[in-house]
């Protein structure tokens, strides 16, 4: 492996988000998207954020990436304040964000080109990583000719190529079918374990969060804040079979109930518990129309 691919020492890649708040100015005054959210990722740890849609989990991730400036609190990586996007934090987007005008290899080399590495060392690094992700046969293809799963694999490889301290993923497998998603999850954990990199993973899929993570943060409905932090004590390496183990199901049930409460709030809280629990109305033999 070339220099740039060398695994960072495990002392690097600590992410701290302290009392993070973000609000948008509107005509009715400031509108809070996230308030007082504090999370951290230890060096080499795999951490997920789950929450109902619109809770601000992507906002939190974008702040770590440096796309958003917090209106309150602070975001640091290895003690340094985040100020704009940079190559020390690799990002994988929900939408496939490969450059269509570059080949697979060209996409992976992009970050190294920005680091002004020589063409030969760029190519060597790209080939090594593409081999690791099983993409060697496709290095000269353009993204348009790849399947969704392959595109996202290239996206992950591209983000890892610069040797970032942290890998940020924003619902990267949301657009993939269930089978491909499971394979992608295994590829991701595999690469994470080899490279010993910190990962912050945003998803709305509870199974995915549990299967992948060391710890899971659960966020509340908007304005989002951290509702709970759950450690996932499942052994590594994780196997697909674990997803039906009692331990997994218990974790799932716990997280599910946390999220469900918030999802109902996120939908405006208009759905009564009765409807959610699916209890039947006792109409005493009358029809609903008679009662009304």
């Amino acid at each position: 492996m070339s220099q740039t691919l060398a695994s960072p020492p495990p002392s690097k890649g600590r992410v701290d988000v302290r009392h993070f708040a973000l609000s948008y100015p509107t005509l009715d005054g400031a509108m809070a998207a996230v308030r007082d959210a504090s999370i951290h990722v230890n060096p080499g740890e795999f951490v997920s954020i789950v929450g109902p849609s619109g809770c601000g989990k992507s906002t939190l991730l974008n702040a770590v990436a440096g796309f958003l400036k917090p209106t309150g609190g602070e975001v640091t990586v290895d003690g340094e304040q985040v100020d704009g996007p940079g190559a020390d934090r690799g990002m994988v987007f929900q939408q496939y964000s490969l450059f269509p005008w570059k080949t697979v290899k060209g996409n992976v080399e992009f970050g190294l080109k920005m680091k002004h590495l020589s063409k030969s060392s760029r190519e060597r690094a790209a080939r090594t990583l593409l081999g690791l992700a099983g993409l060697s046969a496709f290095e000269n293809q353009y993204p348009d000719s790849l399947s969704g799963g392959m595109k996202q694999r290239v996206g992950i490889v591209r983000a890892l190529a610069t040797g970032p301290k942290v890998l940020l993923l924003d619902e990267p497998f949301g657009a993939l079918d269930a089978q491909t998603r499971i394979i992608m999850q295994q590829i991701l954990t595999n690469m994470w374990q080899r490279l010993k990199i910190s990962v912050l993973f945003v998803t709305h899929d509870i199974d995915e969060a549990i299967f992948l993570s060391d710890r899971v943060y659960c966020m509340t409905a908007r304005p989002g804040t951290i509702k709970a932090e759950i450690a996932i004590p499942l052994a590594r390496p994780r196997r697909e079979a674990m997803m039906v183990s009692q331990e997994f199901l218990n974790l799932r049930r716990g997280l599910m109930s946390l999220i469900r409460e918030e999802s109902i709030k996120a939908m405006g809280g208009e759905i009564s518990d009765l409807a959610m629990d699916g209890l039947s109305l006792d109409l005493h033999g009358q029809t609903l129309a008679d009662l009304v």
Partner: protein, 305 residues
């Protein structure tokens, strides 16, 4: 419609063939069966099979051209008068004769070459100014806000309306004709470049930023290639409008050029030369558009199917 559907069929077949070539190491069931079936076929037959759609399109297009020539021949031979009068219209044979004569005539070739030179100059200058201007206007809001109203006022003025002004502005006739050609090409290129810039996917810009790209790199590596398809649309349209403007300018104020040749033929009552000039303009316009498209395919290899 029909030929289009066939063409897309051929594309699908192409892709399948490419897949087969790309992964010869995995002889899956259906794939190997297909290659066994394909084995006795000669290369020529396989080529024919793959390009059947394209060949059919060529044949259908040639048929239309042949029918057009036949109709032209019949209408002029029988001197048909039916609202429009074909009494003085030259027949295809007469035009062919004058083409044979003109092809040995250095004066005619000079007309053609001079028009081509004017197009090359006017179009190139337009592209060299309009593309970077569009990129900068698309990237920097202030530049856009500053220049956009001005371009919007100037844009609707047809290049031909600039003829009197151009004659006043430029010391020589030649310069004013090139200027008019330039104006014709300039605005389509600018507008399409701007459009391309406005459609650049912000996620790609973010992705580049996350990979350590700074402003100039983002401009060169993201905004420019992302806008290229629209830039080439603009160049193709610009080339067409450049020819329109050039011919008009040559007819009004020129002394040479294929537009002037066509107009002169009318004044000198050499009717076959009118049609010859027109066909010549058509072929030159077609050729220059094909040139731009070919260049586009060359610089955008990712757009090739």
């Amino acid at each position: 419609m029909d030929s289009f559907a066939l063409r897309s069929d051929a594309k699908v077949a192409d892709v399948k063939a490419a897949d087969g070539k790309a992964a010869p190491a995995e002889p899956t069931g259906p794939l190997s069966a297909a290659s066994v079936e394909a084995a006795p076929m000669t290369t020529a037959r396989r080529w024919l099979r793959l390009n059947r759609g394209g060949l059919q399109a060529v044949a259908v297009g040639a048929l239309a051209l042949a029918l057009f020539l036949l109709a032209w021949h019949l209408l002029t031979t029988y001197r048909v008068v039916f609202f429009v009068r074909f009494t003085n219209v030259p027949s295809p044979a007469a035009v062919y004769e004058s083409l044979l004569r003109a092809s040995h005539d250095t004066k005619f070739l000079m007309h053609v070459l001079l028009s081509c030179r004017r197009i090359a100059l006017g179009f190139s200058i337009a592209a060299i100014i309009a593309v970077p201007l569009g990129l900068v206007m698309g990237r920097f809001r202030l530049v856009h806000e500053f220049l956009f109203p001005l371009t919007e006022v100037l844009r609707p003025i047809p290049a031909i309306a600039w003829v009197p002004m151009a004659i006043m502005l430029w010391p020589t006739n030649e310069q004013s004709i090139v200027f008019i050609t330039f104006l014709g090409a300039f605005f389509p290129i600018l507008v399409n470049t701007l459009h391309g810039m406005s459609l650049v996917d912000p996620v790609l810009v973010r992705a580049a930023q996350c990979l350590g790209a700074r402003e100039t790199s983002i401009f060169r590596e993201v905004y420019f290639p992302a806008s290229l398809p629209h830039i080439f649309t603009g160049l193709t349209i610009g080339m067409g409008v450049a020819w329109v403007s050039l011919i008009a300018a040559e007819m009004i104020s020129g002394q040479f050029g294929i537009g002037y040749f066509t107009w002169e033929a009318y004044s000198l009552v050499q009717y076959p030369d009118i049609a010859l000039g027109m066909i010549c303009i058509g072929v030159l316009g077609l050729g220059s558009s094909a040139l731009v498209r070919g260049l586009g395919r060359l610089v955008m290899p990712w757009k090739r199917a």
